[in-house]
């Protein structure tokens, strides 16, 4: 006497169909989110334009991000750094008036992070800037952006490929970044 498993499978078939549709939906939903709500260019408290500053006026990155060469973090310019120029320049524009209001209240500007590495990644600007890595390698062509968005996929693959291409000593050791 032979026993067939087909009857059993037949019972499971509707369930499998539902699961398949759900899976397709799941994947679709995931990418829909990633496509329409990527969060790569978040809204900032002031419409600051890197294109105007770094592009048109050719202000070097490290004029404002002064720490990048000697600290793990590049540093966001303090409000008085902004006011160093903007007490004179373009003082009548609404966004500059907004900046001035922060300054008058002696309040910091709550910028939203665009490039944010997870806490388990130890990244240091100092090392990379001193090795003459262009800022744009990771941050994308910031000098062309009115609103900064995350263009390069700053993920482990980007780090590892670059470390391999440049033959970084211990560049692929886990502990180089995860410590």
């Amino acid at each position: 006497m032979s026993v067939s498993i087909v009857p059993t499978l037949k019972v499971l078939l509707p369930a499998a169909r539902i699961a398949l549709v759900a899976l397709i939906g799941l994947i679709g939903g995931y990418y829909a989110n990633a496509m329409f709500f990527p969060g790569t260019s978040p809204e900032q408290p002031i419409d600051f334009s890197h294109r105007v500053h770094a592009g048109e006026n050719e202000i070097p990155c490290m004029y404002c991000h002064v720490q990048a060469r000697r600290s793990i973090s590049a540093g966001v310019p303090s409000v008085n750094k902004c006011m160093g120029c903007h007490t004179e320049i373009a003082t009548d524009r609404p966004q500059i008036r907004l900046l001035a209001s922060y300054w008058e209240n002696k309040e910091p500007i709550p910028w939203v992070k665009v490039h944010d590495l997870p806490d388990f990644v130890h990244f240091t600007h100092k090392r990379h800037v001193q090795a003459d890595i262009e800022c744009q390698t990771c941050h994308g062509p910031v000098e062309t952006m009115d609103v900064v968005s995350r263009e390069a996929p700053v993920e482990m693959g980007l780090c590892l490929n670059c470390h391999k291409d440049n033959e970084v000593v211990h560049g692929t050791d886990c502990w180089t970044c995860h410590k």
Binding site: G28, G29, S78, N80
Partner: protein, 742 residues
């Protein structure tokens, strides 16, 4: 639904929105991502180590020892490291408060500094009798001590007390008696070749443990091939005892008799270095080998051997403290121990007892220390209605005084109790007005460590972070009160910072002013975190014949009849919690006790033989009863303790003091008899007898280590002194020490 799930999945793995908050105006020296280190002074215990605090973005991140400070030379103990948890403690007092319910009800309402200070100032001004104003502070030194003196002087009250539970009153008294020195000497452990310690747990809590640890390491390994020997005499093996070459248990309270027995042997056949042998021989006639063996339980040949080794070591150094100094004969015991140093001629020599110069600032502080007798007087005065205002600064006598002192009940008769503290401890909970103080990491201060290191040392403590809460530095609170009371003329400084800076101008002037002027000197002191001067104390020592004639150690007295209370209670300062001040720090709670590996909670140590006879197992909850009360605490068998002694760490058993300390373990001080040392009036903490009883319940302490024996695993291989292999049992002074057979 699937699509919704996928959408939510993608949403949930997104990075949370983070902000980059720049400064409006960045402080000088600030670079984001780069640490700034500030040198300052540790405030966790009275040793006065220098610290270097790593700060980033205005937050203190790590505390290390300051390599430039002569006391700790870059090292720091666990309690010092845990200072960050004092700063960031979630149970800190954050604003001035007024008692709103009944005293002790714990009901407070917040107020402003202006109102709080005005209220205290008006009550101080309204006091009818100047001597009705009492100020009890933790032991402070330097300019803060001077400021308190000035303030109380202006108020016309002489009742300024410093109160620290662990202050070595007996040691101060003994040094004063024998050597005529008001300051503690520097015990040069570093250069000694033979250290004889009578009860001083000098690697754990005695005087300046970090400095001693450095000295001990050097004495062991820093002298080429000569390895310093070290003998520890105590009834329960402490951390120092565990590091000793030889651990000798002597009957509790007989340490002084043992010291005099050794002294007699030095005179009889050792390497005696004085010229007054006849006087000493006459004084020590009683302390024959047989007498000493009878009283101390230490065999006569051991006494003779130690006397010979100690006096021939050149230099040998004898130190005494801890439990040996906390008996009813504590001062006599420590006089006897100091006399050993005199007999072998190590006074003022490297590796011996080196006298310290008077501290540059605040030399009067040692005399302000309140002993148990003074605290009892305070309670008595309160009961009689003689105290109108009691100001308490960062000390917790309700926790560290035995109930026999009667302070808690006496507080009811004091109309106004003011507490300056960072935490709601037992004493602060009984206050009417709380003026919360900064932690030491937020305050200006300075310190002249006592005991010093043989020459003049000072250091300035600077704020390493901006104040976290609406608190004020203790000195600024006092200056604020003075301002409200119109004492501006005598105490006209704007802030503690000004006062200290002003005072350090004098220090600058005495130390051959350099071309840079005071400002450059001040910057240098702040940057290096330490200031030193090659001023030494050149006092020579001549001991009067009369002092020698009167040298004697009476037998220690104990509270409780030995039949009813068969065990001597040996309370000791906890490695992790010190006198209880570390109990609100989670790091210290979870740091295993080095001898037992226990974390969190209290325990009582008893000899395995005793436990066996009484049918007690590890983890049985015992009731420990003295004539003055009882507490419940789990048993831990501990091989290195005399069979008729039980030991308990001090530090747990808080009723207040925040979430980490409250209702954890029990406090052995609660059952101590109010016995005092006959000479110094300090609390004889080791003079209480207790009985043990099973409660029938179990409460196994949490340990990180499992089994303290080898169980045949041959982990620690050893060879006996006579070449025997391990696996023998020895009998040392009637304590059966069983070496686990491999």
């Amino acid at each position: 639904m699937g699509a919704g799930g996928g959408f939510m999945l993608a949403e949930s793995i997104k990075h949370p929105v983070e902000h980059l908050i720049p400064y409006a105006v960045p402080p000088e020296e600030f670079s984001s991502g780069i640490a700034t280190w500030y040198n300052s002074i540790c405030g966790m215990c009275p040793a006065g180590c220098g610290i270097s605090v790593r700060t980033r973005e205005g937050r203190a991140k790590k505390i290390e020892g300051n390599p430039s400070h002569p006391v700790n030379q870059g090292r720091l103990c666990a309690l010092g490291q845990a200072g960050l948890q004092v700063l960031y403690n979630p149970d800190r007092l954050t604003a001035p408060m007024l008692q709103s319910g009944e005293r002790g009800s714990g009901e407070f309402v917040q107020t402003t500094w202006n109102e709080g200070l005005s209220e205290v100032a008006s009550r101080l001004s309204a006091s009818t009798n100047n001597d009705g104003i009492y100020f009890v502070s933790e032991g402070v030194r330097g300019h803060l001590a001077n400021l308190f003196e000035l303030f109380m002087n202006e108020l016309g009250s002489a009742n300024l007390l410093h109160y620290d539970f662990a202050h070595p009153h007996s040691l101060y008294a003994a040094n004063n008696h024998l050597f005529g020195e008001r300051q503690l000497p520097y015990y040069d452990i570093r250069n000694s070749r033979y250290l004889l310690s009578f009860g001083a747990d000098y690697l754990n809590d005695w005087l300046s443990p970090v400095h001693h640890g450095l000295g001990f390491g050097h004495s062991r390994q820093g002298n080429g091939d000569a390895r310093g020997r070290f003998v520890q005499i105590e009834p329960r093996m402490s951390i120092s005892g565990a590091s000793a070459d030889e651990w000798i248990p002597a009957t509790p309270g007989s340490e002084g008799i043992l010291a005099l027995g050794i002294a007699q042997q030095i005179l009889a056949g050792g390497n005696y270095q004085g010229t007054d042998a006849d006087d000493w021989n006459a004084a020590l006639a009683t302390y024959s080998a047989a007498y000493v063996e009878d009283k101390t339980g230490v065999p006569a040949d051991t006494v003779a051997r130690i006397a010979s080794e100690f006096s021939h070591a050149e230099p040998g150094l004898a130190i005494g403290g801890g439990a040996a100094g906390n008996h009813t004969n504590g001062v006599d015991t420590l006089v006897a121990v100091n006399a050993l140093n005199y007999l072998v001629g190590n006074i003022g020599k490297p590796g011996g007892v080196v006298f310290n110069p008077d501290p540059v600032v605040g030399s009067s502080t040692a005399g302000r220390q309140a002993n148990f007798a003074a605290m009892q007087d305070l309670a008595e005065n309160a009961r009689q209605g003689a105290i109108e205002v009691l100001i308490i600064n960062n000390t917790n006598p309700l926790f560290t005084l035995p109930p026999g002192a009667g302070l808690k009940e006496a507080l009811a008769s004091i109309p106004l109790v003011v507490s300056l503290s960072s935490f709601m401890d037992e004493t602060t909970a009984m206050a009417d007005i709380i003026l919360p103080s900064h932690t030491y990491l937020e305050s200006w201060g300075d310190d002249m460590p006592q005991p010093g290191v043989g020459f003049s040392v000072g250091a300035v403590s600077q704020p390493v972070v901006s104040p976290l809460y609406n608190t004020r530095a203790t000195g600024d609170i006092i200056l604020g009160l003075a301002g409200k009371m119109g004492l501006g003329e005598a105490m006209g400084w704007d802030s503690m910072e000004d006062y200290i800076k002003d005072g350090w101008r004098n220090v600058y002037e005495r130390s051959s002013p350099d071309a840079g002027g005071f400002d450059s000197f001040w910057r240098e002191v702040l940057t290096s975190g330490a200031w030193g001067e090659n001023t030494r104390n050149s006092n020579s020592v001549v001991i009067d014949k009369q002092v020698i004639d009167n040298i004697a150690v009476a037998e220690a007295e104990f509270s409780g009849n030995p039949d009813e209370y068969p065990f001597v209670l040996h309370p000791y300062l906890s490695t992790t919690l010190y006198d209880g001040r570390g109990a609100n720090l989670p790091w210290m709670q979870e740091l295993p006790d080095p001898m037992t590996s226990i974390v969190y909670g209290s325990w009582v140590e008893l000899n395995p033989q005793t436990a066996n006879e009484m049918g007690i197992q590890d983890g049985d909850l015992l009731r420990i009863t003295s004539e003055h009360g009882s507490i419940e605490v789990p048993a831990v068998t501990f091989p290195a303790i005399m069979p008729d002694v039980v030991a308990m760490p001090i530090g747990q058993g808080h009723e207040e003091f925040g979430r980490y300390a409250r209702n954890r373990g029990s406090n052995p001080i609660q059952i101590l008899a109010p016995n005092m040392d006959a000479v110094s009036g300090s609390l004889a903490t080791s003079a209480t007898r207790v009985s043990l009883a099973q409660t029938g319940r179990r409460a196994a302490p949490v340990k990180t280590g499992g089994e303290s024996r080898q169980l045949g695993r041959n982990i620690v291989q050893s060879t006996g002194a006579d070449g025997d292999s391990a696996g023998h049992s020895a009998k040392l002074n009637s304590i059966p020490i069983v070496v686990d057979p491999a």
